[in-house]
């Protein structure tokens, strides 16, 4: 009788296992979806990159052996790095201000940030084109004020890409940084001040080291997203600084060369995964030992 009313440990353990396997069963549809829509395309691209036009590593050899393509790789990395640095430089003070401002104001700023994220990417990029072009609002204002006599070249070059991409990437750095900075007890900074630290010393020796995990994960996200960005560089950048995504689009759309397109995409994927692994290694499990 007691066996029926009080299941003991021996029966409880297999039950837990069966619950787990039933829970696993629930994830099967999602896994199927993942395989069909994400893994299969990647695998087929990988296959085409080594099979077309004929089996071998010719596509990779062509991609990595040509200075033209290497320049595009290099350009992609340097533009992404520049965007990451500018985003971080603007994002950190904004996140810091958000963390210390009254929460009512902060929620207004967040609403604006989210609203901009939800606005169509193409619309936002065109809006920047309108602002930055030779006859755009910025040039007209500066000329009207007599600050410049010739319109500044703000689009179809590195400046345009950096401005447009920084704007799009900002929320991705502000949100994680805000989360990290909010968790820092203001009393720690008060203690630093009483210890004799100037604002600058408190910033460089306490605040930035404490915010480092947020900075690294935000920066990495921005860098990786920038590596694969297409719309903004295509519209605001010039032909002189083409990025990898544009090259892939050209291979596939204009040249119908799936082999080369696949190879370029795969190189991008490998770089991305490597960076992700590095971040996990540095900040994944242990994070900051102090907290």
């Amino acid at each position: 009788m007691t066996l029926l009313t009080e299941p003991d440990n021996r029966t409880a353990a297999p039950r837990a296992r069966s619950v787990r396997s039933r829970n696993f069963a629930l994830t099967v549809p999602a896994l199927v979806l993942l395989v069909v829509f994400f893994i299969l395309p990647v695998v087929s691209l990988l296959l085409r990159s080594v099979m077309e036009p004929e089996p071998g590593l010719d596509n990779y050899r062509a991609l990595l052996g040509s200075t033209t393509y290497l320049k595009i790789f290099l350009n992609t990395f340097s533009v992404s790095a520049l965007v990451t640095i500018v985003t971080l430089a603007i994002g950190f003070p904004v996140a810091w201000a958000l963390a210390i401002m009254p929460s009512r104001w902060a929620s207004i700023v967040f609403a604006v940030l989210l609203l901009s994220m939800w606005t169509n990417l193409l619309t936002r990029t065109y809006a920047w084109m309108v602002l930055l072009q030779r006859t755009g609002v910025i040039n007209k204002t500066l000329m009207g004020l007599g600050l410049i006599s010739e319109p500044l070249p703000l689009v179809n070059n590195l400046v345009g890409v950096t401005i447009g991409m920084t704007y799009i990437m900002l929320p991705f750095i502000i949100l994680p940084l805000y989360g990290v900075i909010r968790k820092i007890d203001p009393a720690i900074l008060q203690a630093a001040a009483l210890c004799g630290a100037t604002r600058r010393q408190a910033l460089t020796r306490i605040l930035i080291p404490l915010a480092a995990p947020g900075m690294v994960s935000g920066a990495l996200m921005v860098f990786v997203m920038s590596l694969g960005y297409f719309v903004t560089p295509a519209l605001l950048g010039g032909t002189a600084n083409m990025m990898l995504a544009e090259l892939i689009a050209q291979f596939v759309q204009s040249l119908v060369n799936w082999g080369m397109g696949g190879a370029a995409a795969l190189v991008l994927l490998i770089v991305t995964l490597t960076l992700y692994a590095v971040q996990l290694r540095l900040f994944g499990t242990a994070r900051m030992e102090g907290r």
Binding site: A187, I188, Q190, A192, L194, C195, G196, T198
Partner: protein, 362 residues
Amino acid sequence: MTAPFLHIRGLRKDYGIVNAVKDVNLTVERGEFMTFLGPSGSGKSTTLYILAGFENPTAGDILLNGESLIATPSHKRNIGMVFQRYTLFPHLSVGENIAFPLKVRRWGKAAIDARVRKMLQLVRLEGFEDRKPAQMSGGQQQRVALARALAYDPPVLLMDEPLSALDKKLREEIQHEIRRIHQETEVTILYVTHDQEEALRLSDRIAVFSKGVIDQIGTGPELYADPATRFVAEFIGDSDFVTCRILSAKDGRADLSIGAGASISGVPVHGTAVAGGTAALMLRPERLSLRREAAREGTSGLSASVTDITFLGSSIHVAAAAPSGETISVRLPFGHEATSGLSRGDTVSLDFDPETAHVFCG
């Protein structure tokens, strides 16, 4: 006349319409251990934060060695502070935490190392240099915070309820450490607490805060024996209050009567006593003696009936109801002859020395 070491003068702080500190005046001598004692919201922390430079006073001034501190920013005040919350820098080791104020002062490496070692010795945490704050207990973290705050030899050390997050036993242990460190370093300490026992154990003098002002400043025994207000009497030591009627008052002494009882003369009086008016007579449980008969004519006693008897180990606690219905507590040593055979409902006489009682008017 030389200026006092630390002088707080007419200090006031408003947050919008909230008046956190009304008018605080205080002088502290070099090397003194001064405690701010008071209930929650009485303005203790605010006063300390103004001293630290985190807040600007609405009015008033703070003078250290005769010079105003108000215009000096926190990082140039050279004041030490231990906070209620744990404020060690989490990404730095214990040693690096203590070295931090010395590094920003650009001390040499050898001097820093020697100083860190000395500080760790002072707080008895030798060998913990390389630990991260997260690997230390709360009590150890506060000791490191103390070492960090003392590393640069500040003239004044502020402590805002540094032990309130710790359990009672650990708290007492660290109280002893703080006393020893105060004696060894001779640093001037301003200490905030709302625990009267802690205040009594640690301080040279105590400033009792109430609603943004200091009600009374004095040593523990002074505050206990001679409270200036009913608030102080309630806050320091145990006390009961019995309503009485003032018969006459002169030279800080009053004659009074309780209910229909006899007159009691020569009780120290505080506030403006009006003959015929009512007032509160303060009685301390350990200052009453108990006799098992109704109060006699001509003694400073009142009749009461026993309502409860509690055995508390070394002492016995007797609760008795005065004729007015108010409860008076008496604490007697265990085995006191008056307690043998005492039971509820017995009529007893509670006697006291008028000098040790106090009357508060208004």
